[in-house]
């Protein structure tokens, strides 16, 4: 997920972190097939899952495999 552009909406396809971390991610809404909006991508990733805004470290974002659904560049 750390490879997409800010403003993109992506669908989570697979979680590849440790089982413990995956469990936490799912509990927090990062389940498979969940649509996520990537708000900012600086060093860490800020994204919107349903109505919750979650900050993830870049390393953790890397372990979330996603598919891009639509490219919606943020207005400047």
């Amino acid at each position: 997920m750390n490879k997409v552009r800010a403003g993109c909406v992506v669908v989570i396809k697979r979680l590849t972190a440790s089982p413990e971390t995956n469990q936490r991610l799912r509990e927090m809404g990062f389940g498979e097939e969940q649509r996520v909006k990537v708000v900012t991508l600086q060093n860490n990733v800020l994204c919107q899952v349903c109505n919750a805004r979650l900050g993830l470290s870049a390393k953790l974002a890397e372990s979330i495999l996603v598919q891009q659904t639509e490219l919606r560049r943020l207005a400047a």
Binding site: A6, V39, N43, N51, L56, S57, L60, R72, L74
Partner: protein, 752 residues
């Protein structure tokens, strides 16, 4: 006679509006205490407007994402629901608060709670936000799918709260009349996770064992068995909770599942998740569009690596500048009240020990701390605003980059920022940190952040030592000095965290997952209430601990009385009043000359008596240690006295330096403490409080752990004396070394 209270427990995910609902139901009249044995805040309140015959008690549990706790906070929520805490009665009703705009994630926890079989009600909060975001919800459908009543509401606006109150009142009446079934024997087992058959069988086996072990928690056994089988950490955190043979049975069941090709870690979670996904899909009509919102734009700026950081520094600078300039007027007014009261009491009582105790020890001593109330209120107002607007979490997210350099993650920044107000809530806020090593490191460095008790010390020293100069036309040097002290604390905390993570407490921090609450316009009443609740603690400390220390200090600076010395100065004063004074140029005798001479002798007498008092002896005893830092024995008294609480330094200085003046019974002579310090001269007639000494003293106070309450809370949080003692030693040593470098370095550079 009224019935025993009907206990209602509020639970839900963090940021689902649980506390807003709790406040709406209790009218902000919560009793805040702790759960027995741990420092997790226990927030309890009575239902506002309830029939006194059928009282309802509400308990606000810490927010949690699931029943598999990752932190101490979440553990408490689980233990209350599992009836593991002896001091919490069995919930007569559990209200699960759901964020309607984030249904899927909230349902995960809700289904877990419903499975526990307590009488449950769903409070579907923020339905307005859900609608605004394009989620149309079928309330009846949700209620049918979950098998419990669902009540839509908007807690922040009070919509639906009256209906919920009515339901609670009705349930309380029914419970008192015995028409409900609190024992839950009519409870229908519900399961939302369709488990693989083999997993289900193993879970049943564990459940049967649990039922025979804990007959009073029979109803909970199925859910408990599922958690025992699935939770990876169970063998670390539950070792004392269950008998060894049960844990062995769990281990054996897991092995069997593994050989059957079932992943015990994820099977139950995935099954529940699939069901929750289906329920959410079934009851929601999505018309949501992912467009750019106001929050997106705000977040893009506030969490930007450059702009975000600049804004953060700007907010901090504004905060300290405001603390220094805006609080001045009410502080001066309070100072005037304290001075007048002291003068009035002195006049009414006439000279004597009791008068000296009341004016010097009680009124002036406690007053010296109480005058800082406006500044403390402003500081707490700022912190409350940062928390309430949602900015605090953004700052933590922003700071993650910096924190990761020292081996911690952004979550540790929130306790550190809270410690600006007071290290105690800061240390308590570390409970949300998952890794125990990271938590300990944060606890060890949190008191390095400058707390509100240091503010009076900085303010007095800055006013006494730092010249009023403008920088870039709008920033004052005093305000900047204050900011520098706060920054020094932050740098010190980060440096020590890095050191601890490299040496004592090595370990990788868990990956950062941080929830950022939505931006909110702060509610004035809530912010003011927060501010007042915390400021009240400051006043309470002033009225108890500090008053006590001041009375003791007064005794120590007054006794033993050296009659011989007193008599010597009395003779000098008498001789002075009898000695002829040469007339002025116009033939009159200037009375002021007499006054000046008398005041000089009185000051000298006060100094000599203080030097000989118990406190003076203590000050002189520690003087050799403090000399290299440029401090004399009088400052030594202040440092020793403030070991229990930092702000005592201010009242001690007031007591030590105002002694001579108090005896003059002249209100005008009793100038403010900063003015007194400014005019203080040593034996060589050199200014004592030079800018370099002022800065050195402040550096000492930035790093020294002078707070008994912090030591006590660290003892409780770490459950040992080892860490608080280590913290006391390392911080005191650090304070001495850095103050030494500041003073000696400054002298070498020719600054003082």
């Amino acid at each position: 006679m009224s019935a025993s209270p009907f206990t209602v427990v509020l639970t839900g995910n963090p940021n689902c509006g649980k506390t807003t609902l709790f406040n709406a139901l209790t009218g902000l009249r919560a009793r805040v205490g702790n759960y027995a044995g741990v420092t997790v805040e226990r927030k309890e309140g009575a239902l506002r407007g309830a029939d006194p015959q059928y009282p309802v008690t509400l308990l606000d549990l810490p927010g949690t994402y699931s029943l598999s706790p990752q932190s101490l906070d979440e553990q408490i929520a689980r233990d209350v629901l599992f009836r593991r805490l002896a001091d919490v009665p069995e919930p007569a009703l559990v209200i699960v608060v759901l964020d309607a705009s984030n249904l899927q994630r909230n349902l995960y926890y809700a289904t877990q709670v419903i499975e526990l079989g307590h009488p449950t009600l769903i409070a579907l909060n923020m339905v307005d936000v859900a609608e605004a975001n394009g989620h149309q919800l079928d309330i009846d459908g949700l209620s049918k799918a979950l098998g419990v009543p669902v009540l839509p509401l908007v807690a922040s606006e009070g919509t639906g709260v009256a209906a919920l109150k009515q339901i609670l009142q009705q349930r309380a009446r029914e419970a008192a009349a015995g028409s409900t079934d609190p024992s839950g024997s009519a409870y229908q087992a519900r399961s939302f996770a369709e488990l693989p058959e083999v997993f289900g069988r193993e879970a049943q086996g564990i459940s049967a064992r649990l039922q025979s072990l804990y007959p009073h928690r029979q109803r909970l056994a199925d859910a408990e068995a599922l958690l025992l089988l699935s939770d990876d950490r169970v063998f670390n955190s539950h070792r004392d909770l269950y008998p060894a043979d049960l844990l062995e049975a769990v281990q054996a069941a897991r092995k069997r599942l593994e050989s059957a090709g079932v992943d015990w870690r994820s099977a139950a979670i995935e099954a529940r998740y699939a069901r929750v996904f289906a329920i959410a899909q079934h009851v929601t009509v999505e018309t949501a569009q992912f467009g750019e919102t106001f929050s997106d734009r705000m977040d893009r700026i506030l969490t930007h690596r450059v702009w975000g950081l600049l804004i953060f520094v700007g907010i901090m600078a504004l905060m300290f500048q405001t603390l220094f300039s805006f609080a001045r007027i009410p502080m001066d007014a309070l100072q005037a009240v304290v001075d007048h009261t002291a003068a009035l009491v002195a006049e009414l009582m006439g000279p004597g020990d009791l008068q000296s105790l009341l004016t010097g020890g009680v009124i002036k001593g406690v007053g010296a701390v109480v005058v800082f109330l406006p500044q403390i209120c402003l500081l707490f107002l700022f912190i409350a605003l940062l928390e309430d607007t949602g900015y605090m979490a953004r700052a933590a997210f922003l700071m993650d980059r910096l924190m990761s350099r020292v081996g911690l993650h952004g979550k540790s920044f929130i306790p550190m920022l809270s410690s600006f107000a007071c290290a105690i809530p800061g240390i308590m806020a570390t409970r949300t940190i998952e890794s125990s090593k990271d938590r300990l490191v944060t606890i060890l460095v949190a008191p390095l952040m400058s707390c509100s008790a240091r503010l009076p010390v900085y303010t007095v020293l800055i006013a006494a030592c730092i010249p009023q100069r403008r920088i870039w036309g709008f920033l004052g040097l005093p305000g900047l000095t204050l900011l520098a002290m706060y920054l020094l604390g932050i740098v010190g905390a980060l440096g020590m965290a890095w050191l601890f993570k490299k040496t004592l407490l090595k370990g990788e921090p868990p990956p950062l997952i941080l929830e950022l609450p939505p931006y909110k316009r702060p509610v004035v009443t809530v912010v003011l209430r927060h501010m007042w609740d915390r400021s009240k603690l400051f006043l309470h400390r002033a009225g108890t601990v500090i008053l006590g220390i001041n009375i003791l200090l007064w005794f120590l600076v007054t006794y033993p009385r050296n009659e011989e010395l007193q008599a010597k100065y009395d003779r000098q004063l008498l001789a002075l009043s009898n000695s002829p004074i040469p007339p002025g140029p116009e033939g009159n005798i200037p009375e002021s000359i007499m006054g000046i001479r008398q005041a000089a002798v009185q000051r000298e007498m006060a100094g000599a008596l203080l030097r000989d008092s118990f406190a003076g002896r203590v000050g002189r005893f520690v003087e050799p240690v403090l000399r290299p830092l440029g401090f004399d024995w009088k400052i030594g008294i202040g440092i020793v006295a403030s070991f229990a609480a930092r702000e005592v330094f201010v009242s001690t200085m007031s007591l030590v330096y105002n002694l001579g003046e108090l005896d003059t019974h002249d209100a005008a002579a009793q100038s403010s403490l900063a003015e007194t310090l400014k005019g203080e001269r040593d034996e060589q007639n050199q200014t004592v409080f030079t800018p370099l000494k002022g800065v050195t003293l402040m550096v000492f106070y930035v790093f020294a752990l002078q707070c008994v309450s912090t030591v006590a809370i660290v003892r409780r949080e770490t459950n040992s004396w080892k860490w608080p003692l280590f913290q006391l030693v390392y911080m005191t040593a650090l304070a001495w070394v850095l103050a030494f470098i500041t003073y000696q370095g400054g002298r070498l550079l020719g600054w003082g």
